[in-house]
Symmetry: C2
Subunit: 280 residues, 2 copies
């Protein structure tokens, strides 16, 4: 892979900051610039050494940039991409790290000008923590990064984004935006809904008896509310389908408990154990 001249990261929080640290660690670009919304974030990004330069100006940040990574909440990715289109003129590859893909990719494939090639990406790493102070150069190591591909995706840009994420230590998987949203609703968005509902449903008196089981199951209920609001809304259709499947699975267990159907209940428990055991 060629070394990039300048990579711009828009939004230098946990994910953007970790990307910056990893780029610098792997020397994948001559310069890493962070484009921030507020002065305090720019200062924090510099302090964490996640970027070489931090600026609030898109014009300045995008000058001579060959790769731009939008590391903002899904609800803001499209508006940021359009600001990138207006503030740049040299050709560049644009990618994102959004947890939902169909709406973002189809919108940007229509709206981006010729000098910008957009490739959707979703590195599957994170933390219930947030902010550049929690960033780590190893956040993506041994994790999965999904790169989306459609009929309109530029082959060269796609390969560069894929190679970039490989260099950051991820295993890259290729999916259509729709398959991405369907699959991720089951393994990420639905578990968040389940964890939030478990936490909110718990009788307050019961919480002092919470042990590792409850704590592990609900860990992700501590995630950033605004971020997850955006994700739930952006992936609404796939998430509502997954929720409906989840409700059916819950009802199956509930019915077998209510009727004391030992065979059915043991079958459901064994099925879950077999699937879950296969994941480690």
């Amino acid at each position: 892979m060629k070394r990039f001249n300048k990579i711009a990261i828009i939004g230098v929080g946990l994910i953007g900051g970790s990307i910056g640290l990893a780029i610098k660690n792997k020397r994948l670009a001559k310069t890493v610039v962070g484009i921030c919304r507020r002065k305090v974030s720019a200062k924090a990004a510099l302090k964490a050494k996640a970027v070489d330069i931090a600026t609030l100006s898109y014009k300045k940040g995008l000058k001579n940039t060959d790769l731009v990574i939008i590391a903002a909440p899904v609800g803001r990715i499209v508006e940021i991409a359009e600001k990138v289109a207006k503030s740049s003129d040299g050709s560049l590859i644009l990618t994102d790290v959004g947890s939902t893909k169909e709406k973002i990719v189809s919108h940007l494939e229509r709206s981006m000008p010729n000098h910008i090639e957009f490739v959707g990406a979703h590195p599957m790493a994170g933390s219930e923590k947030s902010g550049v102070s929690a960033a780590s150069k190893n956040l993506f190591k041994n994790s999965i990064c999904i790169i989306t591909k459609t009929k309109k995706t530029d082959e060269k840009a796609f390969n560069e984004v894929k190679t970039f994420w490989k260099k950051l230590g991820t295993s890259c998987k290729i999916l259509s935006p729709k398959d991405h949203d369907d699959f991720i609703s089951f393994v990420s968005h639905l578990p968040h809904v389940a964890a939030i509902a478990l936490t909110n449903a718990a009788n307050p008196g019961s919480l002092e008896f919470a042990s590792t089981g409850f704590k592990d199951t609900t860990r992700i209920a501590s995630s950033n509310p605004n971020l997850w609001h955006d994700i739930f809304i952006a992936n609404k259709d796939a998430l509502l389908r997954a929720l409906s499947d989840y409700r059916a699975a819950l009802e199956g267990i509930e019915r077998s408990i209510k009727t004391g159907n030992t065979t059915a209940l043991i079958d459901l428990l064994k099925r879950a154990k077999t699937i879950r055991d296969s994941l480690n």
Copy 2:
């Protein structure tokens, strides 16, 4: 606390084995005997050094025993207690480690003969692993042990069981059997149902994208199917009530996503975050 002459542990698996190791580590008894169902379990208990003596005979195991701990699945506790009653004549304290309490305690308070004082207990520690080979003398360290108390509970026996669990490193909490079952249904049994349903609902194609979020949320779906079948059935009433509250919490989130009600959705996310953040 007086040192016990002989403590018998009936069922030397993960929990029973860890109790044996902890008793020996803390020198709480002159002898620890394991009463096992099968020769192979007796051998494994001895090999793990979880007990000093292992036997298949209740008569032999219970001779001169002052404390008996039933560490068997909840579905078997009552029948084992009745076997203890038949196979012993000296006075002894009987306790258990069952994850449900109301049915067990009310049954044994009626059926135990005068020479046996029963005190219900539930150490809130465990693992998705099972068997004496996974036992550890530190399993209970810094965990919670719930001891149940009713009008019929003998004060002296209650205090001895409480002191015993304190010596094993747990923080003891006192609850009525009904409160125990209600509270534990929320923080233990319901999360198991949720994890099993999440695992079973997941689109098979999605599993290769499972990351830490999914893995943590579903870890306990790997638990022993027979053990959890028994727990779900034994705590049926409280669990069905908790499931109904859980369904309402899920529906609240689902409705706010469906209607795009940002205020309601953010409120639910924030509420969960506040509660979950308070637990660490």
